[in-house]
Every structure is written in C-alpha cells, then in structure tokens.
C-alpha cells in the first residue's frame, strides 16, 4: 500500500512537471508568444483567434506567476483552449477523437509484442544453443535497427500501394460511419493490422533479448538446480520456477518503455495517416496550431503516466516481495 502511494506521489510530481513545462513552452519563443505566432501564421489569423489564443495561454501583462495560476485554474476545469486550425472547436474535443485510436493501436501492438517477445526469449534461454536461439537474437537486433517510420513506409509502399493487400490510410473505411456493427469492426481490424504489425516487428527484439538474458541469469539460481534435482517436470521448472521470476525485470522495463513505444506509434500513425494523437500532433505542428499541439503533448504524457501506474499496480500483484515491504 505504501509502495502504491509513493508511486502515485511520483506520478503526481511528473504530471505537475509536464504541466509546468507545457506552460513555459510558448514562452520559450523569442519575443511575445502571441506576436510570434501571429508572425509565423503570416496574417492567416483573425483577431478573434489571436484573442482566444492569448486567453488560452493566459497571456497578459500580469506577472508570470499570476498567468501560471490562471493556467492551472483553466486546466483544472478541463479547458485546454481553442484550436486554431479548427477554430472554434475546443482542443479537448479534437483530442478525444484521437485518443481512442491511439489507445487501440498502442495497446494492441504493445501487448502482442510483449507477449510474443517474452515467450520467444523464454524458450530461447531454455533451449540454449538450439537453432532458434542462435538465429533469433541477431535477426531481431537487425530488424529492430530499422527506424519505425522507415519500416512503416516500406510496408505501406509494398503491401498497400503496390500489391493492394492493405488499405492506404485511415482507421476505418470512409464509407462507413462509426457504429457497433460487424462490418465496422472488421473494417477497423483490417485498417489496424498493418500499422500494429510494423510496431510489433520493430519492438519485439527488445523484449526477446531482455527476457532471454534475465532468464539465463535466473536459471543459474540454486532453486532452479534444486527443482531439477527434485525431478520436477521440465515444464514446471521452466514456467513456475524460472520464467515467473525472470518476467519481473521485464515488467519494469515494460512500464518505462511505454513512452518510447508511444513515440514509435506516433511515426507509424503519421505514415499510415492513422487518426490517433500522434497523427494529430504532426498535423497540428504543420498547421502551426500551437494550442492543439500543447494539449496533445499533455494528453500523450498523461496517457503514459496512467499506463505506468497500471503497470505498477500489476507489478504489486505479481511480486509478493513488493507487497510485503
């Protein structure tokens, strides 16, 4: 319980840090942010938008501390400001549409990749020196060396563009409207397949190697030798004695790499024009939609923090030692 409280405390600090960072981002720009944005947009802004934006940023002649408090107050009410490119829809509305797709793509790809990678690493360590064990590590290192976006681009080019096996863009067929029908769900799965596959292919190696190395270390423990000496079935030694303990460090790494995977998913979303948070972020950057950009950054950060909290809670379930201390 104590452990959980400490973790929650840490996530609150991290959330506060990202909020504060977010507050200072527009103020990093040389000169008055309002003017700077105005200049960059080259007169494409109406006076109303500039006013709305200044208001959203809490930009005024007040001292910074007052602006900061007002900004926090706005956030507490769930106000992230108004989008410039889709004026006047609130940023929160736009973000919510993207969040669904990112969570879908991110969760599917990460869970599958983690599961397959861990199982392969586990069996590799168990059957050391076998064909699979000597071929897999170099192979996954090689595939994992390719940048996400590059692999995604090549996959899109061959599988979708040249051979037409998969759709070129978007999360579901344009002719359908979101509904809980079989047709719609199939379309979503069909559009999800290739983006998820590219993320899995690139990220699987990390899990495989991590699992293989901790498993080899765990197999050197005396209790494994003891279990073998007792004549326990091999399967039982492998899963109940070795793999259960070897999985724990991998779980910690899982939590920490979530942000990285989300970053990778961002590139994948851009290449496949998959309408998640990452795709929206790049669209916002290209349209110089600063309020939307910042709202998205906050949202992605919070998503990562919450996902980490969930991993921590799972960890407590899995490791009795954490519960005891």
């Amino acid at each position: 319980m104590n452990y959980i409280l400490r973790r929650i405390g840490f996530y609150l600090v991290a959330a506060w840090a990202s909020l504060t960072l977010n507050f200072f981002l527009p103020r990093l720009m040389p000169g008055d942010p309002g003017d700077a944005i105005m200049a960059r947009m080259q007169g494409r802004l109406t006076p109303e938008t500039v006013d709305a934006m200044r208001q959203a940023y809490g930009l005024s002649d007040d001292p910074v501390i007052v602006q900061y408090l007002r900004y926090l107050g706005n956030l507490a009410q769930g106000q992230l400001g108004v989008s410039i490119s889709a004026f006047p829809s609130p940023v929160t509305d736009i973000i919510f549409q993207g969040l669904v797709w990112t969570v879908l793509l991110g969760t599917t790809a990460t869970v599958i990749s983690f599961a397959i990678g861990s199982v392969l690493g586990m069996t590799g360590a168990w059957k050391r020196g076998s064909k699979v064990d000597s071929v897999m590590p170099p192979l996954v290192i090689f595939v994992g060396s390719f940048p996400y976006f590059w692999l995604a681009t090549v996959a899109l080019f061959y599988l979708s563009f040249q051979w037409g096996v998969f759709p070129l863009r978007h999360a579901y067929n344009d002719t359908l409207s979101p509904a809980f029908s079989l047709e719609f769900l199939l379309s979503v799965l069909y559009h999800l397949f290739l983006p998820a596959l590219t993320i899995i292919v690139v990220s699987i190696g990390g899990w495989l190697l991590g699992m293989r190395n901790t498993m080899i270390s765990t197999l050197a423990e005396d209790y494994v030798t003891m279990a073998e000496a007792k004549g326990l079935p091999q399967r039982r030694v492998m899963f109940q004695y070795a793999a259960r303990n070897a999985l724990l460090p991998n779980m910690t790494a899982f939590g920490m790499s979530l942000g990285f995977i989300l970053g990778g998913a961002l590139f994948t979303e851009v290449v496949f024009a998959y309408p998640g948070l990452g795709y929206q972020l790049i669209t916002a950057v290209r349209a110089l939609d600063y309020p939307l950009m910042q709202g998205l950054f906050l949202m992605i950060t919070f998503a990562v923090l919450i996902a980490n909290l969930i991993v921590d809670l799972l960890y407590v379930r899995m490791d009795p030692r954490v519960r005891a201390s």
């Binding site: 991290a14 981002l25 050391r128 390719f146 080019f157 190395n213 050197a220 920490m256 970053g263």
Partner: protein, 337 residues
Amino acid sequence: MSSNQTLVEADIPVAPVPEERVTSVGKPRRASNFVTLILQNRKAAVGAVILLLFAIMAIFAPVLAPYDPTDYVGRARQAPSSEFWFGTTGSGQDVLSQTIYGARISLGTGLLVGLLTTVLGALVGMSAGYFRGRVDDILSLITNVVLIIPSIPLLIVLAAFLPAGFWTIVAVLTLTGWSWGARVLRSQTLTLREKDFVASAVVSGERSMRIVFREILPNMTSIVVAGMFGAINYAIGAQAGLEFLGLGNPSNISWGTNLYWAQNNAGLLTGAWWTILPSGVCIALVAFSFALINYAIDEVTNPRLRSQRQTVEILKQYDRRMRSSRATPVIRGAVEA
C-alpha cells in the same frame, strides 16, 4: 579490476604520489585489454568493421561521391543505372551522392549528442549515487521525471516552438536523452561506493571529485561505453525521425532529410523505391553495428552469459549429449572484464 584494487589498498599508508602513478600506468593497459577482449567476440568485430566503413565514407565523402549532392544532375526519378548507381531523386539529384554525404550530418550529430548525453548522464547519475541522501533524492526524482515524459512527442513540440536549426536539434536531443544513462550509472555507483577501495580512498583524504572520476568511473567503463553507444543510436534515430517529419533543416543533406524528400516529392507514390531504400538501410546498418557491439559487451562482461557461451562451445564438441540439464552453468573462476 581486482589487481588495481589491491594495489591501491597497498599504497594507502604511503604518500599519495605513487598511488597516482599506479592508476595512470594501470589504466591504459586495462583499457586496451578490454578492447581486445570485446573485439575477439565475432559479433563485436562485425559491428566495428561496419562502423569503420561508415566513418571512412563520412570523412572521404567529397572523394567518394560521384556528384555534388545538391546539384541537379539528370532527369528526375530515374531508376538505378550505370550512370546513377542508386538512381535520381524526385528533383533530379544523385541518390548515391546524397547517401554518402548524408553520413556526415547524421553520424556527426549522433556522435556529438551521444557524447553530450553520456557526460550529462554520468554527472547526474554519479553525483546522485556518490553523495546519496538529499542530493540523491532530488537528482533521482528529476531523472525519473525526465525518463517518464515521452521523449518523441516532447522532441516534436520543442522543435516546433524553438527556432529551427542544427543546435536546436542537438540541445533538444541532449535534454531528452540523458536520463536513461543517469539511472543506470546511479545504481552502479551506489554499488561500487560500498566497495573497500572507495572507503580507503575516502580515509586517505582524497577529494570527492577525484574519487568519483579516478576510482569509481574506471570500474564501470563497459557500462559507460555501452550507454554511450545506445545514446548515439538514439540520437541518430531520433534526428532522422525529426527530419523525416520535416522538423529539421530541409536544406541540409542527411539521411533523415533524404527520407523526408523521398516522401514529400511523391517519390514513393510514383514507385521510386530507390529514393527511400539507401538512407534507411544506412541508418539500420549503423544501429545494427552499435547493437551488436553492445550485445558483445554484455556477453563479455556478464559472467553468466559468458559461461553460458563457453559451455555451449564445449558442448558442441561433445555432440551435445549432456544437454539434459537446463540450469545455466556457473563457471566460478570466470574472469570478469
């Protein structure tokens, strides 16, 4: 490691002068031992050769490249031919020359950022691990917060707000990339700090800075080096990613901008696969080499992985009849690097 340790201990009652000589004489020899040990590993040797080739390519780019990478030398989107080995881009530049020149900025930024992040990470991590207490609490908190904020979205937002340019990218990559190394080095420093040779250095009245850099740091060379290779890899990949998204300086020639132009001059959707292939494969080969070397470092410095490899080799000679046991063999006398 152990020889140095005993030497230092034996020197304590004497004046600090001979001890200094011992470290300065002992270190280079140990470092070269480490390098040969790593290079004997086949994976590491392959990685080192590939990296060397890329370094030569970057340094001698003006000699090796057949054309000026910015010149419009022929018709746009020509397939590879004897005249243009890798074809031409969407605006008629030579892809091969661009790929060769691209190594300069990509590798240069990678090296620079890799060094900077390693130094920053080592400073923060080792201070936290060495001073412990309040200092550690604060530094660890900062490290963990930086570690958990997703770096790529942060990179993108920072790059969008700051004025575009080479140094912006270097600064942004450094600020987001140091935390992993700091975390690893902190825990390693915490462990080493408990060792006797540090205690004896403290008792003999050495300054903290000297203990950290001359006593503790040399004992974790492999971790620092592996961390730096990881950081270089991260920097090359992240820079290419930012440039691919159009957040770099598009008039520079680098692997990332090559890919940006390949995508934005509709290279792909006209079927010009040769514009996207070379730069991506180069990034992958560099990353692969660093990963291979790191894998080898892990294998050489982790006694369990090493004994594991030795046993597999021994078992191969014996027709693998002994393979019924699954437990990792522990070679008690295995030499640590």
